[in-house]
Symmetry: C2
Subunit: 132 residues, 2 copies
DNA sequence: CACTTTTTTAGAATCATTATAAACTGCAAA
DNA sequence: TTTGCAGTTTATAATGATTCTAAAAAAGTG
């Protein structure tokens, strides 16, 4: 399958579990946002054999470290992940607790004028909270 | 004292505990960022009689609801609060796990061009992650 | 196949946060 | 000033997302 290479190239053994999680995460047209809980449900539907929760956590963290996923900073009791690892911003619908991608062109360039000695900017993220 | 009015006006009884927490939070020159844990330590140092952790949580949530504090969206295992409730942005030092305020002028105006039907923008926050 | 290393897994542990329910307190009406 | 009560505090238990553990299984290597 097409994810075996991807995993091997990043030094991760292409196990049955990881390949199934790849299918759920990456074999789709659009990127999406998810919590571990939501992912667990999707995996249950998608595949017959069960993957333990510990493995889901392990895999997500491995994928995040490799840059295949990123965490989105939101105040929620659960951590949100994003399969869109490009530089982009978010709407957060406070009522539905749903994230929506904003393209860079939806926000325009952001220029951070202040510098901190000895530190480099790693990322610049905008979170736009929405209410009714 | 000066916080009795403030509390009364927002429908909160000015109890000894709330007044002491007000002192720790608001009786200072500069605003600051904190976790509940860090606040607990400050309270211990500042005052003789102990305030239960439950009361600290209760009070912080009450103050947040009244708009005297706000939560900052960060991916941490603890929730961060801010005594600076004006519209502003943040640096987040990934190594030290410390927040630094950015003035609006440090970032410049942000124009959200995309609209979502039936939703209003409640806030626009920029998080700039810093690494060494 | 024989061997090493990585991965999976069930279950336990952790720990920030929230819930509970009994005691206490601020406050206003009597 | 007393009384009554809603609001508040508190110790403690419960919750729940996440991480840890250590043993079993699977993958890679030759
Ligand atoms: Mn959080
Ligand atoms: Mn978080
Ligand atoms: Zn996204
Ligand atoms: Zn701040």
């Amino acid at each position: 399958m097409k994810y075996i290479e991807k995993l091997r190239n990043s030094g991760l053994r292409p196990t049955k579990q990881r390949l199934q999680i790849c299918e759920v995460l990456f074999n789709r047209d659009k990127t999406f946002h998810f919590t571990i809980n939501e992912l667990e449900q999707r995996i249950k539907k998608h595949t017959d054999n069960k993957i333990s929760l510990a493995t889901i956590y392990n895999t997500i963290h491995a994928f995040e470290k490799k840059g295949y996923l990123k965490q989105i900073p939101i105040n929620s009791n659960q951590t949100y992940f994003d399969t869109n690892v490009t530089d982009h911003h978010h709407f957060y619908d406070l009522k539905d607790e749903k994230l929506i991608d904003l393209e860079k062109s939806d926000v325009g360039p952001i220029n951070i004028l202040r510098k901190i000695d000895g530190k480099k900017i790693k990322s610049v993220e905008v979170l736009v909270k929405l209410e009714d």
